[in-house]
Amino acid sequence: MDDIAIKVEHVSKTFKLPHERTGSIKNAVINFARHKKGYENQRVLKDISFEIKKSEFFGIVGRNGSGKSTLLKLLAGIYTPDGGNIQVNGKLTPFIELGVGFNPELTGRENVFLNGALLGFNRKEMLAMYDDIVEFAELRKFMDQRLKNYSSGMQVRLAFSIAIRAESPILLLDEVLAVGDEAFQRKCFDYFAKLKGDKKTVVLVTHDMDSVQRFCNRAMYIEKGKIMYIGNTREAARAYEKANISAGESIPIPAPDDSTQKSTEGVELNVSLKNQSNKQSSVFYPGDKLVFDIDIASKIDIRDAVISMEIQQTDGLKVYRVATEDPNESLGAIKKGIHKRIHLEIDNIFAENTYHINVFMRSIDRSTDYIWKPGVNSFRVIVDTFRGKWSLRPPYTMRIDSAKGK
């Protein structure tokens, strides 16, 4: 037990979901009289057992509703398990989300002290670290304003600056990365690195497979309240992403701003994306083929037009463009009421990332833009033999020679 931080044995948790969320005595009496349960049982966790070692960075991944947050709340002692046993060896940060207890009516300064108290710091200790917290949050000018006047980004910054002061050896972090912009994420990653360096035990619940692979020593994938995989982070991430795809649920991809769309009445342009086995897909693995069908329909006559398609990373970088510019790939005239389809196959040599597809049509002399559809479709490439997001993944051969030296 000495090197174990958290030990979970056969833990189950069931929630009672009331049929009518009124919670009145009248309903309770009626239900009792009719021998009816006023609720339904929902088993959220089923016989979960695992151990987390001291100074381990442990990831928990799973889809929404898989029970991972419930598990974290059980670890934190917020919920009580129905059955089984949870042993925590060492002090544990009692909260799992940023900005717990923040009150919009209080000033930033007052909230710092309140939040600090929830972490277990008294006034004196908070005074000592107050300046550092404000400095780190970059909110010096705003501390005497009420929290309700803060932007959500400012609130997150403040909450994070306090949260990282937690000194307990075991930390539970729930979806901390889901909030905040890129600068905030970078701060988060620095913090994770520091936690790792300080040999803290960290339990991280997240949707971000990159950070799981980057920071966690081990990870667990849970689905419908059961542990499906526990061990290697790459395998856990892979299991998670596979399950997401097989569930027919595409990975949420943020679409670019719609406002830049342009269209001419009566002209339609669409892109569908399939894989080599002719199935609609939005996730591709190495060795797959990306099969695009670009459909053009028009209610007006267009003499000659060029269709271009761009593939763009989420950070804005355009990585590829293909167009019907070449004379022998000419689109020709588009007659009213005639559909045309461009069939395009590209080997998946894309690196791990999320990509948007932009497509547009304009006249060959570039005088008229008929239609311009950024983000008409998108796809994601998962390359689990590589770690990290490199920009290029050209096909390659590798040979390793050994020779005796003289």
Binding site: F15, T22, G23, S24, I25, K26, A28, K73, A76, G77, I78, Y79, T80, P94, F95, I96, E97, V100, G101, N103, E105, L106, E110, F113, L114, A117, L118, G120, F121, N122, R123
Partner: protein
């Protein structure tokens, strides 16, 4: 002692901050602010005084009846405020309870402390009234503390039960409000106990721990003519019924609260 301090360190830090926050937020946005916590019972007092003492001549023959009345109102008001606020306290702090493991009792104690602070302020006003009314200093005055402790413990026991019940049944606050309204008239606050001539009824009224505490406090601080539970029952074991009720409610409240506290997070 050191270990005890360590064990409750977190609770104490939390309590201080929760009380401070409650206090800051309570009258935020109101012009008169904290003055309201004094004005509320005072206004009630003025109304009752005019109607019952001036018009209906209730309390004639009781020495220092205005102060006598005020003390009763202040104590009742404390009981009323503390139980009403505590009832919704756990649900009101649902955001905390669902996301952080804090000792649940600190929430009830913090709301009770807020009510205690108000009681303290109100008692200062009572003291001023006593001085103005030239109420003689009785040597039993310190006993008023005992009466206040009784009210507090009784209110605490009730608060623990109600706040835990309220998590499951939101009707509880309305039911309790009605009970309080009835209780106000069932307790000898407006009228001296002597106006009730039926001895059995007198005894019944004085079994109520709040009645016992209010009459005890009046007896200790204002006038020895105020009848107490002891004087109504004329001694004997029966006079301890109110204390037994307080003990039962408190212990029962603690046990019930403790058994329910583990499920607050999921039931809120």
């Amino acid at each position: 002692m050191q270990r005890l301090k360590q064990r409750y360190r977190y609770s104490v830090i939390l309590l201080k901050e929760l009380v401070r926050t409650d206090f800051k937020l309570r009258y935020q946005g109101s012009v008169l602010g904290y003055a309201w916590s004094l004005l509320k019972p005072m206004l009630l007092f003025v109304i009752l005084y005019v109607v019952f003492v001036k018009f209906l001549k209730v309390g004639d023959g009781v020495p220092h009846f205005p102060v006598y009345l005020l003390l009763g109102i202040v104590m009742w008001n404390f009981f009323n405020e503390m139980t009403m606020q505590s009832t919704t306290a756990i649900v009101g702090r649902g955001d905390l309870i669902r996301k952080i493991r804090i000792p649940r009792w600190t929430i009830i104690v913090s709301s009770s402390l807020a009510a205690l602070i108000n009681l303290g302020l109100n008692l200062v006003v009572v003291a001023i009234f006593m001085a103005v009314n030239r109420v003689g200093l009785l040597d039993t005055l310190p006993l008023i503390l005992l009466a206040l402790v009784e009210v507090y413990l009784f209110a605490l026991g009730i608060s623990l039960v109600l706040s835990a019940l309220y998590v499951k049944f939101r009707d509880v606050s309305y039911i309790w409000e009605v009970i309080l309204q009835a209780g106000f008239y069932f307790t000898p606050i407006l009228y001296p106990l002597s106006t009730i001539t039926n001895v059995t009824l007198q005894k019944l009224i004085m079994i109520n721990p709040i009645a016992q505490a209010i009459q005890g406090a009046r007896h200790a601080a204002i006038t020895h003519t105020a009848s107490t539970t002891a004087s109504v029952f004329g001694g004997g074991y029966y006079q301890f019924i109110p204390l037994a009720i307080i003990a039962m409610v408190l212990v029962g409240g603690l046990l019930y609260f403790k058994s329910q506290a583990r499920y607050f997070a999921e039931n809120i």
